[in-house]
């Protein structure tokens, strides 16, 4: 059976980059790579809910972080082990200096949405690689 790719965003609530992770995860799961991806609640993973942890261990995992604390990455490492890939939403802005996201956490501003779209495409590409690697 083909493995699913779980996308785990940090969803940090203090800065817009966490919201970008959350929305990018939805964009990939709903539109760019539907059917082969799934999202799970980070707090539930950290809580150690057995069904969730077991499911993630059987599949591929990508973590998305909004700051260099890398909470989603470290939380997943602590509970599941090393993820198959990790992304940092701030890296999109480092590569696209003209796209400074608005600080609004909800709803996202126009620049933030654009950053999210670029970020989602990068993640979707990695999902494709991970899925292809399974075939």
């Amino acid at each position: 059976m083909t493995k699913k790719v779980y996308i785990i965003p940090c969803s940090g609530i203090g800065k817009v980059y966490g919201s970008i992770c959350r929305q990018a995860a939805y964009r990939v799961g709903n539109d760019l790579k539907p059917g082969v991806t799934a999202i799970e609640c980070l707090p539930l993973i950290v809580k150690g809910k057995k069904e969730v942890v077991d499911e993630l261990k059987k599949n591929k995992v990508i973590t998305l972080d909004g700051c260099t604390a890398l909470c989603a990455y470290y939380d997943v490492v602590n509970v599941i082990g090393e993820p198959d890939a990790q992304f940092l939403s701030t890296s999109v802005v480092q590569k696209n200096r003209d796209l400074k996201p608005e600080p609004t956490i909800y709803p996202l501003g126009e620049n933030a949405k654009e950053v999210m779209e670029i970020f989602a495409k990068e993640i979707a590409e990695k999902v494709g690689e991970l899925v292809d690697g399974e075939k």
């Binding site: 969803s11 609530i13 950290v46 809580k47 890398l70 939380d75």
Partner: protein, 148 residues
């Protein structure tokens, strides 16, 4: 929506942790409701604690330890999107028992006509619920803040 009350901040702030669960519309409601409280309803007397940073508290050089320290010495409210109560359990495990826990589903039961559907982007019902939840959080904040 109730306007922000101007309060002279002489007492310790109240901490807020939203579950922010990604897999449920209720998680998105906790997130939006908490932002409404800290930005509009009670900005002077509250501080938001980042749930993932709190849970990854071992990353002390990045501030995770500070979030746990805050919750040890300040009253903290957790806002839960489901009965798993991840925020409440995390606060109790790493800091101190939460001063209060608000379960979104309990509030939603009082408003059965509101049926939020999209966890990605809150629809009209979701936004209405977020505002109702925010008001309930604000009421709890006032009780806790005034009792200090």
């Amino acid at each position: 929506m109730e306007k922000s009350k101007l309060i002279l901040n002489t007492k310790p702030k109240i901490g807020l942790i939203a579950c922010s669960g990604e897999n449920l519309v209720e998680g998105t409601i906790t997130r939006v409701a908490t932002r409404i409280v800290v930005e509009k309803l009670r900005p002077q007397i509250t501080t938001i604690l980042c749930q993932p940073l709190f849970m990854a508290g071992d990353i002390k050089h990045k501030g995770g330890g500070k979030e746990r320290e805050f919750a040890k010495i300040h009253k903290t409210i957790t806002v839960e999107g489901c009965e798993e109560a991840c925020g409440k359990i995390a606060v109790e495990r790493y800091s101190a028992p939460a001063a209060a826990t608000i379960y979104i589903q309990d509030i939603m039961k009082k408003y059965p006509q509101l049926k939020p559907e999209s966890k990605e982007e809150l629809d009209e019902d979701g936004l209405k619920l977020a505002e109702i939840v925010a008001e309930e959080i604000a009421t709890t904040i006032d009780e806790l803040y005034n009792s200090q």
